[in-house]
């Protein structure tokens, strides 16, 4: 489902974030990307999600090479992904409901369908009663769950989570990991970047390690 071939990323200024990374992630697989800070995890996630372009090499999603896509085609590729970020990237001037509704509005769903889907997603993450509140009033764990609701509301084929438990205490972190596991069980491909060894333990998922931008065997 996700194929990267010899991808490298060099940022302006000369920083080499990734060096010749080749990997393959199958459909329905759950994978952890690990490594220390600066290992290149976030960069790899951004390249897979089509947020940034690789300097060299190629990435294919379901056989479609990202480098072959035009700028105007990239948004449609991104709709196949659900993104979860360490810093949530929630819109604080919108309610919980409207934060989750955004991807559906972008995809052109009707108002009725948006309401049904948003409520279903909020129910899954246990925030249905808080749909009218502002995200500011939520705890850190709830904000992260809201971010997950927004990521899954479009029923994406691939879920990309970058340090999703980075700011959470162990109790909340375990809840979030359990949620990812549940999504994976229903067929969603899940890729989680983390530097937290405790998160990976006991899940039996594949682990891909990065060190200074290179893949570790």
């Amino acid at each position: 489902m996700i194929e990267t071939e010899q991808i490298s990323k060099r940022y302006p200024g000369g920083h080499q974030a990734l060096k010749n990374v080749s990997l393959s992630i199958q459909e329905g697989e759950m994978v952890f990307l690990t490594g220390h800070s600066g290992a290149g995890k976030s960069t790899l996630m951004k390249l897979i999600g089509g947020i940034e372009r690789a300097t060299s090499g190629s990435i294919a999603i379901n056989g479609t090479k990202i480098s072959n896509l035009t700028r105007s085609a990239l948004p449609y590729l991104r709709r196949n992904f659900g993104f979860v970020f360490q810093d949530n990237k929630l819109l604080l001037d919108r309610s919980v409901f409207h934060n989750v509704a955004l991807p559906l509005l972008i995809s052109g769903f009707s108002k009725t369908e948006i309401t049904t889907r948003v409520r279903a997603a909020l129910d899954k993450v246990g925030l249905l009663e808080k749909e009218g509140l502002s995200p500011v009033t939520l705890s850190g764990g709830e904000q992260q769950r809201l971010c997950i609701a927004r990521a899954i509301v479009n029923k994406p084929a691939i879920l990309l989570a970058d340090e999703p438990t980075g700011n959470l205490d162990p109790g909340y972190a375990a809840d979030i990991v359990a949620m990812f596991r549940a999504f994976n069980r229903v067929g969603v491909t899940v890729v989680i970047a983390t530097h937290d060894p405790a998160m990976i333990q006991g899940l039996g998922a594949r682990i891909i390690s990065l060190k200074q931008g290179e893949l570790q065997e």
Binding site: P75, I106, S110
Partner: protein, 297 residues
């Protein structure tokens, strides 16, 4: 239905953002309205002067002054030659009649009474049947060369100069409109940049979840449209007020000059509105496109 819902959401969001800063928005609209109404008002004033100068040009006359020593025989010769040359009304004012008309003027009556001899020459006033300034000018040049003619005065001279002045002023007003238009685009560009900065996070998230450039650009275009529409309406309102109240005080001063400012037509009133909306949309499009290009690079 979805098509309408997506656009309606963006439009209502843009309206709510516009009224979230009522004073800033109001001042901006007022600034736009004043900036647009000034050149439009000047243009209407000049249009009145233009009508006047055209009217003057249409009533062009040639005044042919004979030499003071011209005899009655010479007058007859002049009359015959003019009738052969000129197609139009020929009016003769003899020197006695000229002097008596001058003496009717209180300013000159005393002066005329003290004159020993009559210094006023015989005069022919020629009014053409068809207004052709070029033809009239060539006739004037022929008449000037006759020995018994002292001077030929072409009355349309200053009217022509006035027309040129009005034309030049109109071009200047157009240039002012052009400059104001550029200022308009720059102003909207900056306003939208500010809106983009305020909504930076929203744009970033929207891009991550698959928003197209069109989707991201849409609320900013709507914002520019609302601002342009209200600014244009403000300009129309200022012009309307100026015509209704300001004109009452100016018109009596202009009437003796023969200048009548016409009430603006629907098209004249629509012009600032169309201009304002188009320029605002252009500014918003340039600004949002500029930002999209930056974040996509």
């Amino acid at each position: 239905m979805n098509w309408f819902y997506i656009r309606f959401s963006a439009f209502s969001d843009s309206i709510s953002r516009f009224f979230r800063q009522p004073i800033t928005s109001l001042l901006h609209i007022l600034g736009m309205g004043i900036a647009l109404s000034i050149p439009m008002g000047c243009y209407m004033l000049l249009d009145g002067a233009d009508q006047f100068s055209r009217k003057l040009n249409n009533s062009t006359q040639l005044n042919v002054f004979l030499t003071t020593e011209a005899s009655d025989e010479t007058v007859k010769t002049a009359q015959t030659q003019l009738e052969e040359l000129f197609d139009g009304d020929i009016k003769f004012i003899d020197r006695e009649q000229g002097l008596s008309e001058l003496s009717k003027n209180p300013e000159f009556s005393e002066l005329v009474a003290n004159l020993d001899t009559n210094p006023i020459p015989h005069l022919f006033v020629l009014t053409p049947n068809q207004n052709d300034p070029q033809r009239l000018l060539s006739i004037a040049q022929i008449i000037e060369n006759w020995t018994f003619v002292e001077e030929v005065r072409f009355d349309a001279d200053w009217a022509g100069k006035l027309e040129s002045f009005v034309k030049l002023s109109k071009i200047l007003v157009m240039l002012v409109v052009l400059l104001i238009g550029l200022g308009f685009v720059a102003s909207i560009f900056t306003t939208i940049q500010l809106q983009i900065t305020i909504r930076k996070d929203e744009i970033e998230v929207a891009r991550l979840v698959g928003a197209t450039g069109r989707f991201i650009r849409r609320p900013f275009l709507y914002y520019g449209f609302i601002q342009g529409l209200l600014g244009g309406l403000c300009a129309v309102f200022i012009i309307f007020l100026g015509m209704k109240y300001g004109l009452k005080s100016i018109q009596p001063m202009l009437e003796p000059l023969g200048i009548f400012i016409r009430k603006p037509s629907l098209l004249t009133l629509a012009a600032p509105l169309i201009l304002s909306v188009s320029l605002s949309l252009l500014g918003a499009w340039l600004s949002s496109n500029n930002h999209l290009r930056k974040i996509d690079s």
